[in-house]
Point group: C2
Chain length 326, copies 2
DNA sequence: ACATTGCACGTAAGCGCTTTCAGCACGTCA
DNA sequence: TGACGTGCTGAAAGCGCTTACGTGCAATGT
């Protein structure tokens, strides 16, 4: 049975290596002024004892115990795969700096419940009450998404819509439709705008927009299926989300259409598993996380508010093809 | 602009209240030996300074810096609303004890990447490689779900299936079907088993089982729709999940059937938003979180392995009704 | 009257770590 | 030879907190 192992401390390592704790600390943290031989000896001892520095002690000593609270609009209940991934990258990114997400919660009123040093707001509409709340309290926060006059970061959604349009246009799909959900959400509005603008600029007219009940795969499926069954048979669809796109693909398949020969579909996000085969507008979630952390530091330092837009790229996979004559 | 506020320390509070730091600590932690008046004064000072004790320092002092890693099978990518809620309760529960989930991650190989003191495994099949891995390492862990010979906790799925059956039977639905996904998952297998057993015990025969491609709302929708379109029109369906149930309800609606008059549906889990109107088998997620923490402590203490089953209850809402003659 | 209790509180040690500072053993330059 | 770096290391302070331990004081007992 697992003996309740006592964690090795820096003292144990020091003793084992025959040096002082100061030297161990320096060696382990790549500080200068340690003889190479000594460093090696310390490293070996640390490995031998499976030494794992105590986070709390390290934080305390570093006096960089920054509490970072992550606030998701509806708790985890509506956590999308996208935000799930983001979260993972965020905590990895913070771990690099020895920081960490301390708590993940928001009260029933939607307001962050904890008095942290800094907040990351997910899933916020521009008029989200949390923004005013935090601003009023003078707390550091960064919004993942977009709003005016607040520190925020998000993909360049307009550009995303545009490159989706250009891709489709290049393939000859002048009769594309746009499948989205809740245009009240800034990201969706921007993507729709970028898409429509590019179409008009190309003289292809205003594309039809289908609004699903929600941004789930089911939402996308039903909206698309209804549209397809309505008689109109567009050659391509740009879905505002990979999940919506999956719904599209599934709906098309259920109606006997083939993707991409009968219907091209391009998604948005590039979620690993979900869209492994999907042509989609990729946003770099790792980069998003890194930028979030940067902004977090700026917020803590009291720097000027700025909004950052992250580039997106189109990754062409199996769900788009040239328009066939019909 | 938010001045980079310096956090108040226990010394500030002590000075403000005109007492020593020891007294502040005792007052704030409900220790005995503090005069009621003094306690009040300290509390007031703490509030005035918005004092928020430094977690790191507290942990260090308490030497209960227990690293608890939460391991989700596929990262957050497949985090279901159910596990999302569970996570929330778990971190709340741990917060009560001054503990916290330190990291939430699993490597690309699916194995937990961090060397924590204890692990919470979500979403694990009984033959999940993580179980053997952790056991081999002699690490403390608890599995949320079921498997043989490991410390685990889960709802009483068999009973859940049974009470769903009894509810439906009581309403006269002898022609119920069971909608599930991936019977390889222990929970789903158990629910199906409980359901079928109760039906047979009542002399109602073996209920039809429909297996959806996945446990999403879309999966439930498509499976149910296909079944319904196939001609058979069951009077009721027991879905292994609230999400599947939502899919059912939606499919029925899309086919012009009315719930519950044409089709009764009962779900499983009782997720707040999702199933607000759903008749469902409720599991107490908060309790699940509490039990998880209890088992975690047992694991850390090296107690004997035990598996716990949590009771479930049927909550009857708007999606079930008595069988009509047809 | 004094010794004894018990309560409320202050003092200080210590949790495991980082980092400054001083010291020591060299070598270098005049 | 002595004054001076230079490179490496140990000692010790301190991060913010909890918690023995000790002390002063009033209340109690004799």
């Amino acid at each position: 049975m697992a003996t309740p192992r006592r964690r090795a401390t820096i003292h144990d390592v020091a003793e084992h290596a025959g040096v002082s704790i100061g030297t161990v600390s320096r060696a382990l943290n790549d500080r200068t002024g340690v003889h190479p031989d000594t460093r090696l000896r310390v490293l070996a001892s640390a490995a031998a004892l499976t030494y794992d520095p105590d986070k709390a002690a390290r934080e305390l000593s570093n006096r960089r115990a920054v509490d970072i609270a992550l606030s998701v609009a509806h708790g985890y209940r509506r956590l999308t795969p996208f935000f799930g991934l983001f979260l993972q990258h965020l905590s990895e990114q913070l771990a690099v700096e020895g920081l960490q997400v301390r708590e993940v919660a928001s009260g029933d009123d939607g307001l962050p419940v904890r008095d942290a040093d800094a907040f990351v707001l997910l899933d916020a509409h521009p008029d989200d009450p949390r923004i005013g709340h935090l601003a009023r309290l003078g707390r550091a926060f960064v919004l993942v998404g977009h709003a005016h006059d607040v520190r925020c970061v998000a993909a360049d959604d307009v550009a995303g819509g545009r490159i989706a349009a250009e891709h489709l246009l290049r393939l000859g799909h002048v009769d594309s439709v746009h499948l989205t959900a809740d245009l009240h959400a800034q990201a969706f509005a921007d993507r729709a705008h970028g898409f429509a603008t590019a179409f008009e600029a190309a003289g292809a007219g205003q594309p039809t927009t289908i609004v699903a009940d929600d941004a789930s795969t089911l939402g996308g499926y039903r909206a698309m299926r209804a549209h397809l069954e309505g008689g109109t048979r567009p050659g391509a669809v740009f879905a505002a989300t990979d999940e919506l796109a999956i719904g599209c693909v599934t709906a098309a398949a259920d109606l006997g259409m083939r993707v991409p020969s009968d219907l091209s579909v391009v998604g948005f996000d590039d979620l690993p598993e979900l869209g492994a085969r999907l042509t989609t507008v990729r946003q770099d979630i790792a980069l998003l996380a890194r930028e979030t952390v940067t902004l977090l530091h700026e917020a803590l330092a009291g720097a000027a508010v700025r909004a950052v837009r992250l580039p997106v790229t189109l990754v062409s996979r199996g769900t788009t093809a040239e328009r066939r004559n019909r």
